[in-house]
């Protein structure tokens, strides 16, 4: 890790006027901004979550936890986690197909990654239009004789969250494909040649050889996407439901709950308590990641 550093004991270094504090001079601007944006905020967040009308209390947490809307929001975040295995399987399949170098694979890679480059608000508005009762999705379904399942995809409480999950998968898939493909392209080709010589067939070859090569990035992708589903879906929900999490509370998620409690119901204490809990969940996910990484001995940068 320190291969590129000039050792501190280099005699010439001592002659510099700044001496030992010099690295601090370089780091300070970045550190100051990070300490303000993260350090100060986290401190104030915890403080706000533990205070009410001038005294210390844990009531905010109790109130938030017993708020049915908060529970609903949390449940929805957990349901969104179903997208993670779907994303992993689809990314694996498509990245392997791209890796096989079929004709036109570069174009397909370009096309499949494009959704990840588009802004979520843009995606949200376009899908909002497509998924309306008279939108193109339903027109297509009617045209192919599936008119029976045509419906207002984002307007039905029963289907709204599933529809949203599908939109999230549509966008996040690009990241997984490109990630896995980049890893595959960095594997020495003789690893695969050996498998092919044995006459291994598609599924066997990839299960025995490709997937073990990918285990490090798969773990990484699972954790990144799990964190996304738990704490980065605000944009989708806000744009596709006009900031409501509707219909009813069918697509309410924790981030939107925090946003609404803080800025629509003017209750920063409750919002802060919810934010602390959300952050706690994120921390647990990261801890799991590092644990898995260490115990399986799978480095990401083998």
């Amino acid at each position: 890790m320190t291969s590129g550093t000039v050792a501190l004991s280099d005699p010439r270094r001592r002659r510099l006027r700044l001496g030992r504090v010099e690295p601090l001079v370089w780091i300070t601007p970045a550190l100051a901004v990070v300490v303000f944006v993260f350090g100060y905020s986290m401190f104030q967040l915890v403080r706000t979550s533990l205070r009410f009308e001038g005294h210390w209390t844990t009531d905010n947490f109790r109130i938030t936890w017993s708020d049915p809307t908060f529970r609903t929001a949390l449940t929805h975040n957990i349901r969104l986690l179903i997208a993670v295995p779907v994303l992993v399987l689809l990314s694996l399949l498509l990245s392997i197909l791209l890796f096989e170098g079929l004709r036109g694979w570069r174009f397909h890679r370009w096309a499949l990654f494009l959704p990840y480059v588009l802004a979520i608000p843009v995606i949200g508005v376009v899908f909002g239009q497509l998924l309306q009762f008279n939108g193109l999705v339903n027109q297509f379904l009617r045209a192919v004789g599936l008119g029976g399942i045509a419906q207002d995809w984002l307007g039905q409480p029963r289907w709204a969250l599933w529809t949203m999950t599908a939109v999230i998968v549509w966008r996040e898939l690009g990241f997984g494909i490109v990630l896995f493909l980049a890893r595959l392209l960095s594997v020495p080709s003789d690893v695969f040649e050996a498998g092919r010589m044995d006459g291994a067939r598609f599924f066997r070859l990839h299960r025995r050889i490709t997937i073990p090569q990918l285990s490090g990035v798969i773990v990484f992708y699972v954790i990144v996407e799990a964190i996304t589903m738990v704490s980065w879906v605000f944009n989708y929900v806000y744009v596709m439901t006009n900031g409501q999490g509707g219909p009813g509370d069918a697509t309410q998620v924790t981030e939107l709950y925090i946003y609404q409690t803080a800025f629509q119901y003017q209750s920063p204490e409750i919002a802060s308590a919810a934010a602390v809990m959300l952050f706690g969940v994120t921390l647990v996910l990261i801890a799991v990641f590092f644990r898995v990484q260490r115990s399986s001995g799978v480095g990401l940068d083998e």
Binding site: Y116, L136, F234
Partner: protein
């Protein structure tokens, strides 16, 4: 295995890829074609490619507040990306060049900060902004964006700077170059590619950011594209071409960068995973 079986296999692989690509491109196709249709044209032939391009949708978008939102987004994005690159490069050189006590601990904390959801920081930062009277100013938003982009930026550049051969730097130091000189004359010129990559990835994030812009830029004259779009949608709910034209304008810069610099996106987004901790 038999030849027919192999042909069938290749065929189904192609078919799968084509279906996936069509699904990925379809919403973009609808956005682009609808933007150039008239309202009647769109409701009559929503699927069709553009027969006779109409600029009515774009006219509606431009006559609305799109130019202002666009300008605001350009100001906020470019300022925060440039400042981030500068501050991150300085810090990364500090981390890569000197071995000081606590360095790895600080770097470890930075890596962990990458996953802090912005919504967690929202309430305290907003309260702070109100107290110092900086709501609906670009200054505070740029500062927050820089803060949120720094952990990944510092981490990525530190990793890169560490790959610069120590011999190159030692040679310059022996010649009596100050560390600032080494940084400017050796490190920065060698880092053009990672700096561009980082700039592109950060631009992608900042251009598309909604939550912070929504909360901190409430004044109509300060709204960014992403905030504007969400309101625009409900105002023009019946005029689909106008909405799609607006979205096309909002997406154009990023997609242009993507078309010409795909490898920078890929490299930057993959860097965190493949070189990561």
């Amino acid at each position: 295995m038999s030849r027919t079986r192999r042909v069938a296999g290749t065929f189904s692989k192609h078919a799968l890829l084509i279906v996936a690509s069509v699904l990925a491109l379809f919403p973009v196709y609808v956005m682009l074609t609808a933007a150039f249709k008239t309202e009647e044209g769109f409701s009559a032939h929503p699927w069709a490619p553009i027969a006779s391009p109409s600029l009515g949708g774009f006219r509606a978008a431009v006559n609305d507040q799109f130019p202002r939102w666009f300008e605001n987004t350009v100001i906020v994005s470019s300022a925060s990306v440039v400042i981030t690159l500068l501050v991150a490069a300085l810090a990364a050189w500090g981390f890569a060049h000197w071995a000081f006590r606590g360095r790895d601990a600080v770097l470890g904390v930075l890596v962990a900060l990458m996953v802090v959801p912005p919504v967690v920081l929202l309430v305290p930062l907003f309260v702070f902004g109100v107290r110092i009277g900086q709501i609906s100013t670009f200054r505070l938003v740029i500062l927050i964006y820089v803060g949120l982009m720094l952990p990944f930026s510092v981490f990525m550049l530190t990793n890169f700077f560490r790959t610069i051969p120590a011999s190159m730097i030692e040679a310059a130091v022996i010649d009596g170059a100050s560390s600032w000189r080494v940084f400017r004359r050796i490190v920065l010129p060698l880092s053009a590619a990672p700096l561009v990559t980082l700039g592109v990835v950060n631009l992608l994030w900042v251009w598309n950011e909604l939550l912070i812009a929504l909360v901190f830029l409430q004044d109509d004259s300060k709204k960014t594209l992403m905030v504007g779009i969400t309101g625009f949608q409900s105002r023009y709910s019946l005029n689909v071409p106008a909405i799609m034209a607006g979205l096309t304008l909002a997406t154009l810069p990023i997609v242009t960068v993507y078309i010409f610099g795909q490898r920078f996106f890929v490299r930057g987004l993959v860097a965190g995973a493949l070189k990561g901790e």
